[in-house]
């Protein structure tokens, strides 16, 4: 599978100056006027053609810098063989984006702190958008048939079946926990309905040593890694078996054993942290990378900018996966950004990026697997924009029919369902039957109901866990407050919920 570094339009501008006009003009003034007018025409033509290209005249004679300018400016020279720095992270290596210009000036280059840059006497604004949106990589069509035989990483029967089972399990889990919240048995829940392919296929493409920093709509990654339905239920109930010790709302899972950082509600904070994690792995020379998730809304946060920029500058092995599901609670993407989604932002940071059909499990698998390999072997960040749709409400505190059409939701739920699409492919291969399906669904449902019943009955966390882990060791003020609270609870137990062992 080859990497396409620039997949924007390949259209070329028409010859800027209609030469017959220049030839036919007799007076110098007339020629100058026409020249000026046609130049304006040309500039507007070029803008309208929607060129996303940066117009640089390539000069192959000048040697590429061995050290990046960062090293030169700080006047410390390292032996290149021991340095982790790359030879070049420059844009120059992307041939698709270079335009040939007719002006002789452009053959020369200027020296600026960032390196050599060609110049042009034509005032050209890079258009705000390309004439064509970045296409979306997909492997399976909507009917679960492989579109083209090349450019995807094959998936064995064993892996495919496991992927399907986990996608279906995630669906059942979401359904049952959602209902449990509606019944008042847990306080809150948020589903990943519609995003099962992103959840499971990305996880399947990673190695267990890759450190995952989720946003909050990726429990499938944890599920894939072996977190049990009971463990999910325990966190949602905040019982004594919850690894998080009942301190956070449901769905804020975390497991150091599974290399899955604990979910936190603030959006995008995990992105610069992922850059740090990636850098740590790089320093330890581990065959692993950081993988972090974000939604379309989260890319508006400053931490998105911080995370990508740091990962790029530090040359950290990080895979950034953006789940562009169209909605940030009630805010549609048209109210979130004016760019062509998120994939185009990668290049702004010097980060290789790809847009993938997030509802195509095979495409997600291939893209994430390739991105992961790139990140680890080349020690660089990679950005994946996975296009999808948030079929469910934002959370149990949301009713999305208030801001979007029920038809729209239904369409995505039925016709663009990632689980059904992958199921068709797996079934077509003879790897899955209806019998397998009903067995899986009913046993998973049963397991979940049992897990919920058990989690509900579990003891609560002891009261002392309110005060532990604020610091590594309980501080004096916390010891005093604990003594005070215990005395109060013992004196007036009727004012407090029961079951919290003192």
């Amino acid at each position: 599978m080859h990497i396409r570094q620039g997949t924007t339009c390949t259209c070329r501008p028409s010859n800027p100056l209609p030469t017959n006009i220049v030839k036919d003009a007799t007076s110098f003034l007339h020629m100058a006027m026409l020249f000026a007018r046609s130049r304006n025409l040309v500039s507007s033509l070029r803008q309208n053609l929607g060129l996303s290209a940066i117009l640089i005249k390539r000069n192959h004679s000048s040697p590429r810098p061995v050290f990046t300018n960062y090293q030169l400016s700080s006047r410390v020279f390292l032996d290149p063989s021991t340095s982790f720095r790359h030879e070049s992270t420059a844009v120059e290596t992307q041939p698709d984006l270079v335009q040939q210009s007719d002006h002789e000036d452009d053959a020369q280059e200027l020296d600026f702190p960032g390196g050599k840059v060609g110049y042009t006497s034509e005032m050209k604004f890079i258009p705000e958008s390309s004439s064509r949106r970045i296409p979306c990589y997909r492997v399976l069509n909507e009917h679960g048939k492989i579109i083209s035989d090349r450019d995807f990483i094959p998936v064995s029967e064993k892996l495919a079946v496991r992927m399907y089972e986990q996608m279906a399990t995630l669906q059942v889990m979401d359904h049952i926990f959602y209902e449990a919240q509606r019944q008042g048995r847990i306080s809150f829940y948020l589903t990943s309905v519609g995003e099962e392919a992103i959840n499971i296929a990305s996880a399947a493409a990673l190695s267990p040593e890759d450190v995952v920093l989720p946003q909050y709509r990726e429990p499938g990654v944890l599920l894939w890694r072996g977190f049990t339905l009971e463990e999910f239920a325990n966190q949602c109930f905040g019982n004594k078996a919850d690894y998080g010790k009942g301190r956070q709302m449901p769905i804020h899972y975390g497991s150091n054993q599974h290399n899955y950082f604990t979910v936190s509600s603030p959006i995008a904070t995990q992105l610069p942290q992922a850059a740090g994690v990636g850098y740590a792995l790089k320093m330890e020379k581990k065959n692993a990378c950081a993988v972090t998730f974000i939604g379309d809304g989260g890319t508006s946060e400053g931490d998105f900018h911080a995370g990508l920029n740091f990962a790029a500058v530090m040359e950290a092995p990080v895979v950034f996966i953006c789940r562009n599901n169209g909605w940030a609670i009630s805010t549609h993407i048209s109210e979130q950004f004016r760019s062509d989604g998120i994939v185009v932002k990668g290049q702004a940071y010097g980060i290789r990026s790809i847009r993938v059909d997030g509802n195509d499990a095979l495409a997600v698998y291939s893209a994430v697997r390739s991105a992961r390999e790139m990140a680890v072997t080349e020690q660089r960040p990679v950005l994946i924009e996975a296009m999808t749709y948030r079929v469910g409400h934002h959370s149990t505190s949301d009713d999305s029919t208030k801001y979007r059409e029920a038809d729209e939701i239904q369409y995505w739920k039925m016709s663009r369902n990632p689980v059904n699409r992958f199921k068709k492919w797996v079934e077509d291969n003879g790897w899955w039957s209806e019998e397998d399906e009903s067995k899986l669904r009913s046993s998973t449902r049963k397991q979940l109901l049992q897990a919920i019943q058990a989690a509900e009955k579990w003891e609560k966390q002891p009261l002392t866990e309110l005060f532990n882990d604020v610091y590594d060791v309980k501080t004096k003020n916390l010891e005093e407050q604990e003594v005070g609270l215990k005395a109060l609870v013992e004196k007036q137990p009727q004012d407090y919920p029961t079951g919290f062992h003192i």
Binding site: Y70, Q71, S74, R75, V76, L78, S83, F84, V211, L213, D242, Y243, G244, K245, R247, Q248, H252, G254, S255, N256, F261, T262, S264, P266, T269, L271, P272, Q273, A274, A275, G276, V277, G278, Y279, A280, L281, M283, E284, A290, G302, D303, H305, A306, G307, N309, F310, V313, M314, N468, D469, V470, Y471, D472, T475, K476, N477
Partner: protein, 362 residues
């Protein structure tokens, strides 16, 4: 060890150097060598030692590579390499977020915020992430290896954005520690403790003292414990509590007060969160009066927390209301700095340190 050193190895210029009748000034103590260093050199020494003793420690921030705008990181990149000591992009939320990630993987990340006035973009990462990292994960994860250093406080000409004392914001956040040294020797020991403490620490360095303060600093690796206040001057009539550069001012006020026969006990809090209530409480129970002084604006400043706590614990022993001598409730002004600052004459004129006829309220 540290308290032994502080009693015997002290240069005169700094608070805590004159201990009344117990004053001794020697230039060397036992077998340990000391060197006359200013604050930024002491910090630099601490960073060298930290990086030397833990190969998994990192120092980074804006401009730290060439030595830092205040010279605190001189020589580190050359000695330990650019993989461990490096410049970052100009982005405080990125600096702290990146540091949290490194620390969460078991490393020590000593990050520099160029000036405390610029720490606010990182406030979310500090409050919502670093402070809660261990607690929210049920102790499965922690970023205790994170230390955030930032120069703070008045410098004489810093104006709004090179003079701030933002410690109060951070003292309100369970899960982090806030440490402020008063002198070079203190800074080295406290910084090493902060770096090695298994909790994220915000370490504010009084920038005024970077060059101004010179002290004999032991050259070896030593740590001064956190959350332990120090009585740097013993007295019986009034307790004064402060931190950082303000202690120099307060010591002058103490000397003036002593001329009028008022015996002052001066306490360096050192760690503001979690703070050593017991030492202050014992002192106030002895003296019956408390004066707190800080550069930060008076309203909502950390002095309010100390005042409220001492009132709760020492009410019946107090002979006068708790005094706070602090900055005014204005943004830190440029030409008006001498009027804004809690100077020694403001301290001297406060109700606690003077007779009723001379009292002013600041």
């Amino acid at each position: 060890m540290a308290s032994l050193l502080s009693r015997f190895c002290r240069k005169l210029a700094l608070p805590g150097s004159a201990h009344g009748s117990r004053m001794t000034s020697t230039t060397a103590c036992g077998s340990e060598t000391v060197k006359s260093l200013n604050l930024y050199s002491a910090i630099n020494q601490a960073l060298h030692i930290a990086l030397e003793t833990d190969p998994r420690s990192y120092v980074f921030g804006e401009d730290v590579g060439f030595g830092g705008v205040f010279r605190c990181t001189t020589g580190l990149a050359e000695r330990f390499g650019k993989n461990r000591v490096f410049n970052t992009p100009l982005c405080e939320q990125g600096i702290v977020g990146f540091g949290i990630g490194l620390a969460a993987m078991g490393n020590r990340a000593v990050v520099e915020i160029q000036v405390a006035d610029y720490i606010y973009p990182a406030f979310d990462q500090i409050v919502n992430e670093a402070a809660k990292f261990r607690y929210r994960s049920g102790n499965q994860f922690n970023c205790g290896g994170l230390t955030i250093r930032a120069p703070y406080g008045a410098v004489g000409h810093g104006g709004h954005y090179h003079s701030q004392s933002p410690e109060a914001f951070f003292c309100h956040v369970p899960g982090i520690k806030v440490v402020i040294p008063r002198s070079p020797r203190e800074a080295k020991g406290l910084l090493l403790s902060s770096i090695r403490d298994p909790n994220p620490v915000v370490f504010f360095e009084p920038k005024w003292l970077y060059r101004q303060a010179v002290e004999e600093v032991p050259e070896h690796d030593y740590m001064i414990p956190l959350s332990q206040a120090e009585i740097i001057r013993e007295g019986s009539d009034i307790t004064l509590v402060g931190w950082g550069a303000q202690l120099t001012v307060m010591e002058q006020a103490c000397l003036d007060a002593e001329k009028e026969g008022i015996s002052c006990e001066l306490i360096d809090l050192k760690t503001l969160l979690p703070w050593d209530k017991e030492t202050v409480e014992a002192s106030v129970k002895k003296t019956g009066r408390l004066l707190i002084s800080h550069e930060a604006p008076i309203t909502g400043g950390f002095g309010a927390e100390i005042s409220a706590t001492i009132l709760e614990r020492c009410f019946l022993k107090l002979e006068a209301p708790v005094s706070r001598v602090c900055g005014l409730d204005t943004p830190f002004p440029l030409v008006f700095e001498p009027f804004y600052m809690p100077t020694k004459n403001k301290a001297s004129s406060s109700s606690s340190l003077s007779s009723p006829s001379k009292t002013h309220i600041f």
